[in-house]
């Protein structure tokens, strides 16, 4: 068990001189590569697919399923502005390269992290991921975004045993 007191906490407002300097240098160094790489992810759709595949090695998913997920995700993602999506595309080559992540300014890194988590959360919740990939089977089927008002009790997460009713 690790001791949380021994580590500095990441706070949502952390943004110091060190981060700015390192981030600036990092961005300059990565900028060219980023611009080049952005051609590989020259659409939000490619970026989203890249994020999923980069985080789930060996993922086996039907092409139509992936396209549908990407389309659904982008249609539903109200949290990311067009400007932010452009920025994310520039950073796309580095989304799954943790060795380089530290070079980004804290707020940029946090934004990338949040976007990646939204993509991955929606993919995992909107597919049979927890019955397949998470159990060692790479074949995943997309079933549709988890929309709580349409299927309120369909979350795959709370798989709890029913306790005896003592009421």
């Amino acid at each position: 068990m690790s001791d949380p007191k021994s580590r500095p906490l990441q706070t949502g407002t952390e943004f110091d001189r060190r981060n700015i300097l390192i981030g600036g240098a990092g961005l300059a160094g990565l900028g060219a590569a980023g611009l080049g790489g952005s051609f590989l992810y020259n659409s939000p759709a490619r970026l989203v697919e890249h994020i999923v595949r980069a985080h789930l090695p060996g993922l086996d998913i039907d092409g139509n399923d992936m396209r549908q997920f990407v389309s659904d995700f982008l249609a539903a993602d109200i949290h990311t502005s067009r400007k932010e999506r452009l920025g994310l595309r520039l950073l796309a080559p580095f989304v799954n390269l943790p060795p380089f992540r530290w070079m980004l300014p804290a707020f940029v890194s946090r934004g990338v992290e949040n976007f990646e988590r939204r993509v991955m959360s929606e993919f995992m919740m909107g597919s049979d991921f927890f019955d397949t990939y998470a159990m060692g089977n790479p074949k995943v089927t997309y079933t549709g975004l988890y929309t709580v008002y349409e299927a309120p009790c369909a979350s795959p997460l709370p798989r709890f045993p029913q306790e005896p009713d003592t009421a």
């Binding site: 991955m120 979350s155 009421a167």
Partner: protein
């Protein structure tokens, strides 16, 4: 329910608002009233069924932010409430928490804040009644303080991180006490942990609409919707009725007793318009400071729980530290974004830490002009007492979560909270320093009751709903005994 289009004649009791305070008062008072007694409930909003609310995507047509003017220096502060039949029961999340006995005796025990004019034992039995009405789920084991009745429903299933916290804090970490039922009730399905509570998709959390319409189905009760109470008519220190606005017309209705249950923002506004000004009226608006965040865990999966707020941790809630440092109620949440790292998808624990604040006179609700429709909220700052806790929030969180294999803790940018609106009509024994007496009866107008958390002198780190209900029922019994 008798929904009427106009008030007719005089009434024994006129209620302003149909939220928790009014409804639980009505429930209790009906037992004391004569068979031919007449009750009228003035509700400013409409009655939106659950289906209507889902269709609208909100609990009321009136957005809370359109109902007041922000004139405070604390710009991140919002205030959450529902204007509509059932009031806050539509938008609350269902956490049903009893105040700790020390919350009632903060001044005499720790030398800070203000004592309540009542104590825990005065309302203990009413807590039990409210829990029964709401079918509250809660722990089987004893909690930190006395209760005379078991929870009506068994506890929700704890997810793995909460089970570890329970092992580490056997006497201070509990399954959440909540009106999100752990089992089907006669009126509601059990909570299925879908993580959306402000407007539950399956109508599982307790609301007045789904589970407590009995008081309104009493033939003695009439309900007048879209009727905005403007002022209480007072003559020679006695409330004689209520002036209200409906359909663009200014109207009035006479009453022998008035129960004011708008909320802690609108109650002082109505009292101010009624000419019942007081140096403390509208002042001492306060709310807990909310710290949201998440902890990345190492090797412990999460989200197996059966409701959104699964655990409540009281390890930093009460003790001698409160003489200098605020109490916190720490909630573990069973919903939130997953992680993206391979194999660690579920190893994240979202949390909310609610930090106690103390009332300050500078934070207030006021009508700049008596004819104004919207009150100004001049909320300027949390107290220095609360800010001590805010400044040490990271350390507190780390200490509470120390029993878990924590990789990292992230505190999110400041949330605005604003869901637990306290103060503005404080209870007290001294008419010079308080608006209401220990039974929430107005010190100067003895046939006027002001229900809700506006009367609470302290304890905002605990969700106030259950106490609102308990104190309202106590007041109803007090007044009803003399009927």
């Amino acid at each position: 329910m008798r929904v009427v289009e106009e008030a007719a004649g005089s009434y024994d009791v006129v209620f302003i608002g149909s939220g928790f305070g009014s409804t639980f008062f009505l429930h209790r008072y009906l037992d004391h009233a004569a068979p031919n007694a007449r009750f009228l409930v003035l509700e400013r909003g409409k009655l939106h069924t659950h289906a209507d609310q889902v269709e609208m995507g909100r609990t009321s047509e009136i957005h809370p932010n359109d109902a007041w003017i922000d004139k405070g220096r604390e710009k991140n502060k919002t205030w959450n409430f529902t204007i509509g039949f059932g009031g806050g029961s539509n938008c609350w999340w269902g956490n049903s928490v009893r105040q700790h006995p020390s919350d009632f005796k903060l001044k005499s025990t720790y030398g800070v804040g203000t004592d309540w004019p009542i104590d825990y034992d005065d309302i203990e039995s009413y807590y039990g009644i409210a829990e029964e009405v709401m079918q509250v789920s809660g722990p089987r084991e004893p909690m930190l303080w006395h209760r005379s009745t078991p929870f009506p429903l068994p506890p929700h299933t704890l997810p793995l991180p909460d089970r570890l916290l329970k092992e580490a804090y056997p006497d201070h970490h509990f399954a959440a006490t909540t009106a999100r039922p752990s089992r089907d009730t006669t009126t509601r399905p059990k909570c299925c942990a879908n993580g959306v509570c402000h407007l539950c998709p399956i109508d599982s959390k307790f609301t007045i609409l789904n589970s407590f319409m009995a008081p309104y189905e009493d033939p003695r009760v009439e309900v007048l919707l879209t009727a905005e109470a403007r002022a209480i008519d007072v003559e020679a220190g006695t409330a004689t009725g209520v002036a209200y606005r409906r359909g663009g017309k200014d109207l009035s209705v006479s009453a022998d007793l008035v129960v004011l249950g708008a909320n802690a923002i609108f109650n002082p506004t109505i009292l101010q318009r009624s000419g019942l000004d007081h140096p403390m009226l509208g002042r001492n608006l306060y709310d807990n400071f909310a710290v949201f965040g998440e902890a990345y865990l190492d090797g412990v999966d999460h989200f197996q729980g059966s409701t959104i707020v699964c655990g409540m941790n009281y390890s930093k809630y009460d003790g001698a530290f409160r003489s200098e440092f605020p109490s916190v109620l720490f909630e573990t949440w069973n919903a939130g974004p997953l992680r993206k790292e391979f194999g660690k998808w579920r190893q994240v624990l979202p949390f909310l830490m609610k930090i106690e604040d103390l009332p300050q006179e500078q934070n207030r609700v006021v009508l700049a002009n008596l004819d104004d429709d919207l009150p100004e909220i001049r909320y300027n700052a949390y107290s220095s007492y609360a800010l001590k806790g805010v400044q040490q929030a990271e350390q507190l969180i780390a200490e509470i979560l120390a029993p878990l294999p924590v990789e990292s803790i992230t505190r999110f940018p400041q949330g605005s909270a604003g869901s637990h609106i306290h103060g503005t009509t404080l209870m007290g024994k001294d008419p010079d320093t308080s608006i209401l007496d220990p039974d929430q009866i107005h010190h100067q107008v003895r046939n006027l009751v002001v229900v809700g958390s506006g009367g609470f002198p302290s304890g905002c780190q605990s969700n106030p709903t259950l106490t609102i209900c308990a104190v309202a029922m106590k007041a109803a019994d007090k007044l009803g005994a003399s009927v």
